[in-house]
């Protein structure tokens, strides 16, 4: 389907859903729908990210295929989300989104090539020095890691800032200060606890006989990936603290905090990702998710899997002759991953968070108006970036 057709289909679906409203209470999408009588592009983009893809609405819908009305909210929202990723990105980089798997592989190759080039330079173009037991900072001195990390961090921050700003406008928030402060906190709570990912409110109630345990536990795998990634970031931070505050240099023993955090995070993320990638084989995925988003997810999974696997290999091989080679590849995959971040599925974290904040503000402002229709809406200034 083309861009316009997808929005037209979303509008058709939302008009029908708004006449039915049987899904009321399942998740925020079906509350937000009741605040609206017309569905403009802003509303559709907003609701698409409010959808956490739990699919409960699809299973309870009497109009889902093979019914002639052919309503498939998870699929259409997934298609809209894919459009949104590209729509709110710099025009120049849209191709990365459109060809996610090839893009992530190319970026990985660029990252690895870059790592090897720098390593060659650092090791004096001497191939023999690649295959001896070495120290990590012989291969890449700390200053290089810091400068490289800083450049990548600025690159990621600027791109994400641009995309978030575009997205905020796109879903109809005129100023961030129009939102309530507490709605940001509630949104954060939902992110932390995976509130809407866990099948919405019906989590322990309705399922038809097709809904087996694996799908019911799907949110657990997302928890593993998300918190695994957080642990990996935490490992990097503690390693930096070890070196700069305590003056302890790597390699750290296995039972040190950075290594334990890193290993736990790595294994959690690895398992979560492998299960998620495996689950894409199911026929449900074919029916309920847009093809484009599926490849986006796969590409993102690959781009995390590679640094996680090579990271774990680096740990295992750190006292062998292959240590340098594996470490260089690992650092390359990390560069590739960071390069890919702003044009990957990663953005859903920010977009979902913003839509949830808008959602809670919508609820608050309505309840506020209901209690006292004459009072002016309370405004709380939010300074996101100083």
């Amino acid at each position: 389907m083309r861009y316009k057709d997808i929005y037209e289909e979303a509008r058709r679906l939302l008009m029908i859903c708004n006449a039915c409203r049987y899904c009321e209470g399942i998740c925020p999408v079906w509350t937000a729908i009741e605040f609206r009588t017309d569905f403009k592009e802003t509303d559709i983009d907003y609701m698409a990210f409010l959808c956490h893809d739990c699919r409960t609405c699809y299973y309870v819908c009497p109009y889902s295929p093979p019914h002639e009305l052919n309503l498939n909210p998870p699929k259409i929202f997934s298609a809209i989300r894919f459009i949104d990723y590209t729509k709110y990105s710099p025009r120049f980089f849209k191709r990365i989104y459109e060809k996610p798997i090839i893009s992530t592989i190319i970026l990985q190759i660029i990252g690895i090539a870059l790592a090897f080039t720098v390593a060659f330079y650092n090791l004096g173009f001497d191939l023999n020095r690649f295959f001896v037991v070495s120290r990590f900072y012989y291969v890449f001195p700390h200053d290089q890691i810091y400068i490289g990390g800083l450049i990548l961090a600025i690159y990621i921050a600027l791109t994400l800032l641009y995309q978030s700003t575009m997205f905020v406008r796109g879903i109809g928030i005129k100023e961030l200060s129009d939102l309530f402060l507490s709605s940001f906190l509630l949104a954060l709570k939902d992110v932390v606890f995976h509130t809407w990912f866990r099948d919405g409110i019906l989590s322990c109630g309705y399922r038809n006989e097709d809904y087996y345990m694996f799908k019911k536990l799907f949110w657990v795998f997302h928890v593993m990936i998300m918190y695994g990634a957080l642990l990996l970031i935490l490992a990097t931070i503690t390693a930096a603290v070890y070196k700069n505050v305590f003056g302890i240099f790597s390699p750290y023993p296995f039972y040190s905090i950075p290594v334990l955090l890193g290993v736990t995070g790595g294994i959690l993320a690895l398992l979560g990702l492998l299960i998620v990638v495996y689950s894409y084989k199911g026929s449900e995925e074919v029916e309920l998710r847009a093809r484009e988003e599926k490849s986006l997810n796969l590409a993102f999974s690959i781009s995390i899997l590679l640094p996680v696997i090579t990271g774990l290999l680096t740990l295992i091989s750190r006292s062998t002759n292959f240590m340098s080679m594996i470490y260089i590849v690992h650092l390359g995959t990390v560069i590739g991953f960071f390069l890919y971040i702003p044009f990957s599925k990663f953005n859903h974290t920010i977009f979902r968070y913003l839509t949830l904040a808008k959602y809670y503000s919508e609820i608050f402002s309505r309840e506020h108006f209901r209690i006292n229709p004459d009072s002016k809406k309370r405004k709380v200034r939010i300074i996101l970036i100083a």
Partner: protein, 464 residues
């Protein structure tokens, strides 16, 4: 497929009534049960797919509703909407066991919406299922498909009941072109009304039947109902009566469910093709009146009508899936509807002239009525004078028919000789006419089907 297999119980029809019967039969000790569903697995559940809530009497405040709804009040409501055309003994039975049924549903995992879950839609008289009727029937199917004594056959039509005097021996069925025969100790029929049988509707309503929209399942052709009456079952109810609502003329021909219902009627006026109002739009609370408007529209010339209202009303009701006709003047609205502008303006003016000054409150019966107008509008009468003006073209949407087979307290099908069939039971729409001679109360269909489902299931295993 083996033929001639013997089951303890055969249930025909896999909607709410049939599923409750089946579960009830299993829990009362049926060791083998065959559930025959006419539709595919994906479209199963008959009209129950399109339901959302169930009415039940409760003497105390509970978590599923907002207040007390006593047995007396519920029985009085039934008497009022049916105008006394009801089997009072059976109606009382439904009222008495309605709360038991809802608790039974909750116990069996039906996701009933509870009051403490925030600002969700709740009512005083009805319990709602989170997600609607498909969640209801899927809960039951999930239960049944996990029981090894239950066999479920989809895409299978029961073509005949094999009767030996007043005893049922089994059923004949057809799956594709394969003919099958199953023997059983008792049979429960829950195969619905005949509302999807256009041929029959045409015999009753004439050419107007072509305008009818079948709101529910396309499979309810009533062939089994006709067969039962041929076999000597006592018919009950009027052929023309049923649950019929006014639906948007753009609705799909079958299986449109709730999305085509036009709920603007009590807030505006309804005129027919002759530019005449024909019924009191504000006669009573909408949940007690919405199900008569289909028949009212069906009785009009060409079985069509127009709901006219103004911008004061917009947002007061849930709109159907299609936008209303909208115009900044009545004249323009008439042109869009293909009506004569002068006569439309005339009928609106006549109505406006009879509206009394009153503070309209759409939340309750406000007594804001017209004076000296025939027919009157008894509540929510306010002038249609604030553009933009809106209109819906409506046609009859038939949900289910009331004409069916007579049953006794044990849900057994009654014969024309006044004696019941020993082991043949009926529940659901096929026996709705026992209680609903006319009129309707929102959510009562599921209550009737469910209560007699519990009874039929029990009695099919332990004969009365």
């Amino acid at each position: 497929m083996s033929t001639g297999q013997l089951f303890d119980v055969i249930v025909v029809g896999g909607g709410n009534a049939g599923l409750v019967s089946a579960i009830s039969a299993i829990e009362h000790g049926a060791r083998s049960l065959l559930l025959i569903e006419r539709s595919s697995r994906e479209l199963r559940g008959g009209n129950s797919r399109y339901t959302r809530d169930i009415r039940y009497a409760h003497e105390d405040v509970d978590v599923f509703t907002t207040g007390v709804y006593s047995r007396d009040e519920m029985l009085n409501d039934i008497l009022r909407v049916t105008g006394g055309k009801t089997n009072i003994e059976l109606a009382k039975l439904v009222v008495e066991r309605s709360q038991e049924l809802v608790l039974w549903m909750y116990k069996h995992g039906v996701p009933l919406v509870k009051a403490f879950r925030g600002t969700l839609h709740l009512s005083r008289t009805n319990a709602f299922f989170m997600g609607g009727g498909k969640a209801l029937i899927d809960t039951y199917y999930k239960y049944l498909s996990a029981r090894k004594e239950v066999k479920i056959l989809y895409n299978t039509i029961v073509t005949d009941i094999i009767v030996d005097d007043k005893r049922v021996v089994g059923v004949k069925a057809l799956k594709g072109s394969e003919e099958m025969m199953f023997k059983s100790k008792s049979v429960i029929i829950a195969s619905g009304g005949f509302q999807a049988n256009i041929e029959r509707l045409r015999q009753i309503w004439g050419d107007k039947a072509d305008k009818f929209v079948i709101r529910g399942s396309r499979f309810d052709d009533g062939m089994l109902l006709i067969r039962l009456i041929e076999l000597g079952a006592m018919p009950v109810g009027d052929l023309k009566e049923g649950h019929m609502v006014a639906v948007d003329a753009r609705a799909p021909k079958t299986d449109g469910g709730v999305i085509s219902r036009v709920d603007a009627i009590p807030f505006g006026i309804v005129i027919n093709k002759r530019y005449k109002r024909f019924y009191d739009e504000g006669e009573d609370e909408w949940p007690k009146r919405y199900a008569i408007w289909g028949k009212l529209v069906a009785e009009q010339p060409e079985a069509e009508a127009y709901v006219i209202f103004d911008s004061k009303i917009w947002g007061k009701f849930i709109p159907p899936a299609w936008p209303p006709y909208t115009a900044n003047s009545l004249e323009e609205l008439a042109i869009k509807l293909n009506l004569d502008p002068e006569r439309l303006i005339q009928v609106v003016k006549e109505f406006n002239d009879h509206v009394q000054p009153c503070r309209v409150d759409y939340e309750r019966l406000d007594g804001c009525s017209t004076k000296g107008l025939d027919p009157p509008k008894s509540n929510w009468a306010s002038k249609i004078d604030t553009p933009p003006f809106y209109a819906y073209k409506v046609v009859p949407g038939i949900t289910f028919t009331y004409y069916g087979v007579m049953i006794d307290r044990n849900a057994r099908v009654m014969g024309k000789d006044g004696k019941p069939f020993e082991n043949l039971f009926a529940t659901g729409e096929i026996m709705m006419g026992n209680i609903l001679g006319k009129g309707y109360l929102g959510g009562l269909g599921l209550t009737i089907g469910g209560v007699f489902g519990l009874i039929a299931g029990e009695k099919s295993v332990m004969p009365p």
